[in-house]
Structures are given as C-alpha cells and as structure tokens.
Amino acid sequence: MSETTTSDATAAAVTAPAVQRRSGGIRLGRVAAWGLLGVFMIASLFPVYWALRTALSNNTAIISDTDNLLPPEFTTFNFERVLTDQSTLSPAERADFQEQVSEVGGNDTNFNIWSPIINSVIVATVITVGQVFFCSMSAYAFARLKFKGREALFTLFLSALMVPPIFALIPNLLLVRDLKLDTYLFEIDLGWLPWAAETTGWTSTYAGLAAPYFLMTPFAIFFLRQFFIGISKEVEEAAVLDGAGHLRRFFEVILPMAAAPIFTLALITYVNAWNDFLWPFTAGRNLSVITVALNDFRAQTPGTTRPDWSGLMTATFIAGAPILALFALLGRKVVDSIQFSGIK
C-alpha cells in the first residue's frame, strides 16, 4: 500500500509545480490509497456483517424484510439454539425449547454445534502439531545435513507440490480405509489392540482425518527449509563448539530462531485444517468436523419449510469464531517474532 502512496506522490510531484504541489500530491495519493483500501475492506467485510445480521434475525422476518440493513426482529436466541444439545434436556424442557425455536422460524434439528467443533479442534490441532514437528525436522535435514542424494530427494518432495490434491483423494481414502492391522502379525495375536479388528480401518477416526497431513506437506518443508538455509551457519557452529549435538542444536538453537516462520506455518496449517471440507467429508462421514456438520445442517432442512438461514448463519459464525480468536491472539505474536528474528 505504501508503494502506491509513494508512486502516486512522486507522479504528482513531477507534474505539479514546486513545493505546494508536492504536499498536495502526497495528500491526494494518500486519499486515493485510503479510498481504495476502504472499498476493499467494505467488499470483504460486508458478507461477514450480513451473516451476523442474518444470525441475529428471526428466520421468518428475513424473508419479508430483505432491504433492512439491521437485523429484522432482532433476537439472540439463534445462538442459544445452535449451542444447545437438545438431547440433554428433559422432555418437558425440550418441548418448551422446540416452541421457542419455531417462534424464531428455525427448524427443529438438534444442531449441537459443540461436538463438531470439538472434532475440528482435535483434528486441526493434531494436524498442526504433527505437521510442524515433522516438517521442521525434515526441512532442517534438507537444509543442513549432508547426505547422498539430498538434492534429488528434495526435488522429489517438491514435485509433490505439483500434484493437485484431488488426485490424491481416492488413493488416500483407500489407504486410510485399509489402515488396519491384521489380527495376527507374524503369528502374534494383536486382537487386543483397539483398532486391530475394525473393518473400516481408519475412516471416521481422528487418526484417519489427520493422516494425510500429519507427517508433512511439501509446502511446509519448502517454506521452512528456505528459512533454515538463511540462518547463519556460524551460530550453529558456535553451538557445536559449545558441545551441542544435532538434537540440541535443532531444538534449542535452530527452532527458537525459527520461531516466526514456525508460528506462521502453524497458523496457516491450523486454518487450512479447520477449513478443509473435501477430505473430512470423504473420510469422516461418521465423525463430523465443523465444515461437514454445516453442510449436513444445510442439507437437512426439510423441504416443506423454508431454509433455516438464521440457524445456518449462526452456526457458520460460530464455526469461524475460533479462527478469528486465533488471529486475534497470535497475529500480534507472529509480527513480534518476525521482528525478533530480524535481528542478528
């Protein structure tokens, strides 16, 4: 953005006469830049606002009152109904609750958003921890360890970046489905292992949902390797002379120095895992993460009544909240750590 500003300013300064024009030019550039920024901001934030407005409306009223920028028949009950697990209510309470639901024009599905959110948190956390851990180790190996065939192996890893993810969908599904141990392995009875005899393998398990991303993605390795290469060799050599072996050097020197890109990578990975739909939809039909649950909710709307827009938007809003909270919490930290590692 600052680039636009300065180039505008210089352009103005060149055409305009002397000092007065110069300050005028800068102001003009500023205004244009801010204006553009404002337009982009409104364009990207308006849908979010509209979702919130719908979530705070009576579902019957939004159909009739479409031009209203404010929520028609304002209510916060939609949040309550989406967050409530109706199966925990007594029959009387439940009937009472259903009545309130129909008052705001919602449908009577027991949404219980907590369970898919917890599933999403578990899956995204497992993926993030695994991916950051393993990718940083292999990125370090590719950046610093000397072994035969290193470059060839790295090229092979990178070429995986070129494969569209959709190609891997079915093979991954088959792999995960067949990921089950035979009850007997080399005649040792493994029947006591919880997953040994399961016929569905890892489909609809946390392990299965995390599996394709747990060990690595080519991007993460590439991203971190570039950073590790940039870390001064001397610092590592200093650690060698201080007596540190490979593990210490990696965990106590390299990793902390790479805190900024690792934070960034973790954030990106978490958001991606949270937002992923296709894989959990395919491999986790009986273990819904939030994206899949939202889809189910949309699909379940009975044909007789109108779509439950308020409920859907409320759930969508809640689904996005953890990500927003993450950015609010860690965004500052990422910026800080980037500044921190910028020093020598």
């Binding site: 001397e234 120095m257 590692s341």
Partner: protein, 388 residues
Amino acid sequence: MSYVSLRGLTKVYAGSDEPAVDGLSLDINEGEFVVFVGPSGCGKSTALRMVAGLESITKGGLHIADEEMTNVSPQNRDIAMVFQNYALYPHMSVGKNMAYPLKIAGVSKAEIAERVQSTAKVLQLEEYLDRKPGNLSGGQRQRVAMGRALIRSPKVFLMDEPLSNLDAKLRVYMRTEIARIQQDLGITTIYVTHDQVEAMTMGDRVVVLKDGVLQQADTPANLYSNPANMFVAGFIGSPAMNLFEGSVSNLDGEVAVHLGPNTVPVPAAVLAAHPSLPDKVGQTIAVGVRPDDMYDAALAPQYEARITGTPVLLESLGSEIVTHLDIGVRPMDSTDPDMEDLTGGDDDAHAVVARFSPHSTVKQGQPIEVSIDTNRLHFFDIATGNKI
C-alpha cells in the same frame, strides 16, 4: 613439550585441487598467544577451523595437550571459538548465552550462576545479563561472545577476526582488552586477523601465511627486523618496506649494493650477518629498506650512506612526514596481493616511502639528500624470495 601441535595440516576442499592450507606445522606452547596473519584467502580461517574441528583435516595431524585430536569431533576437543559475526544465540539473554556451554556440560545450576557472574565481571557485562543480544552494541556483543567462549575454561581459545566488525576506536580498545584477558587467564590462544597491527600488538608469536603456506612464525620484533622472505618483508610494517632490484659489487672487500644511480656501501657488521652476500657479486638481488631507516640527511648526519631523491608526495602527520620519493629506480612488487588492491595495480604508485622527522624541511619537488641506516638493510634472493 608443546601444548597444541599442528603437524603438516593440509586442507583440500572438495571440488578444488589447490590446497587451501598446505602442510602447516607449528608448535604452540601452553598459554601462548599466537596470531595467524596474511592476506585475504591465504587460508587463515581454514587453518583455524581445522583446529576447531569444523573442517575435516585432509592430511596431517593435530595434537592438543598430548592427545591425538585429528579426527575427534569438535564437541570433544574442549575448544572455544569466537566468530567474526559473534554468532550469539539471539533468542537467549546474555546470561543464558554464556551459560549455554556449561548447561550442556551438565554443570550444576549454582555453579553456572556463579561462573556467569564472575565471567560477566571480568568482561564488564554484569548489567547486561538479562538483555537479548539484539539490544547490545557491537562491542558488548563481542564481549558476550568472548564470555561464552571463556566461561568453561577451554584448553584452547580460537578467534577468527573478532574485531573486524567494530569501528576503529573500539577495535583499538578491544585489542588491549583481549590481550589483557588472555594474559590474566593464561589460555592458549590462536587468533586470526588480516590486520598486521593487531597481529603485531597482540601476539606473543605471529604466523604469516600466504597461499596456505607458512612463511614465517616468529615474535613480532623478529618478524619486523628479520623477515624470512620478501613476502613477509613487504607484508609486515606500514608503510611497507621498500624493495629494490640492486646489484652487488665487491671492490677489494668493500661490498656495496647499487640501486639504479645510487651506491650504498654495506658495512662489515652487516656482511657478517649475511655471509653469502659477497657470493652474489654481479647478480641482481632484492634490497629492502624500511621507511623508518631512511632519514633526511640534514637531520641524521650519522648515517653515511646517501642517496638523492625527489619528493613527489608529502603526507604530514604531525608526528612524522611520510615522504614519497623518486630515487631513479622503481621499487619492486612485494607480491602482497593486498598491496595490489590498495594501489589498483598502478605502477606509478610504487614510489619509495620514507618516514622523516617532523623537523625535516623537505619540500615537494626539491631534490633532497637521504641518509640510510645501512645496518638495517635486508637482502633477498629474487628467484626464491628468501633472505640472503
């Protein structure tokens, strides 16, 4: 018995057929401060890194405190090193940086705290122990790097151009600081620099390297007054020694060297020190005269050898007048590549340089009588470069 012993250390980097260090042999005594000096690319860092174990040794052997260390991993050599860019851990405080080697060595918390305190005291870092290296000045970072190296009292202390990132004033200060600390602690030290002033002022012994080959290892005074070859003669001393092509004559035992139109008699004492000089009669040799051994004849009549020169450039420094003279014969190239860099290969820059007393009345363009202290002449074989 020497403490650190380099025995024909040789390094050939992969993908190169020229050795970066070639057959370096040197015995270093316990507590000695040895400086490696030489022009850029001469293999100083490579030699140091072989001692540290950061580079493998292609050929030759290394012994430290009577132990074979040639193939021992760097962690197990009990060596500490200070790097040019300090190489501090940016995420650790000053105190943690210094404590790190002790922590790895498994020293108890109480002892670590105590040693950090005492090391910080020696290095005047006490008030900075909680700061991150990023918030320190260059000189302070330098001291932290030294603290981290010194804290575990290593057998050998290595430094690779540790002062080159500091400004001139701080460099002079840290130079004396390092020398003082080294003396106080008595740690055997190898120090790499390309700055000959650092080398001469700090080292008990200075090792001059060129193209990976040891040229001379000697005390600073000997290196200056008795250089082993033309390279050392030209490299040590600033302004550099003047080297001329000259011929030797012997008239009834009166040996003299002829520098262009000038004849300089060689006194008997000098002949005694260079007994093979008379054998060179009729041959061309290299004759070296240091700028400090040339005087304005009016002010130093005690030296009888005279040549005449025309000053082409005067640099009055207050304490002395550095005089560039045309004496009718062109000085030779000392083959010091750094010199080449300085002059940009410009031959006209090779005037004879003399350091005159500030009382001299020398004037640019006015020919002047120059007297030479003939007791301090240097003679070299042009073919081999070695002293005669």
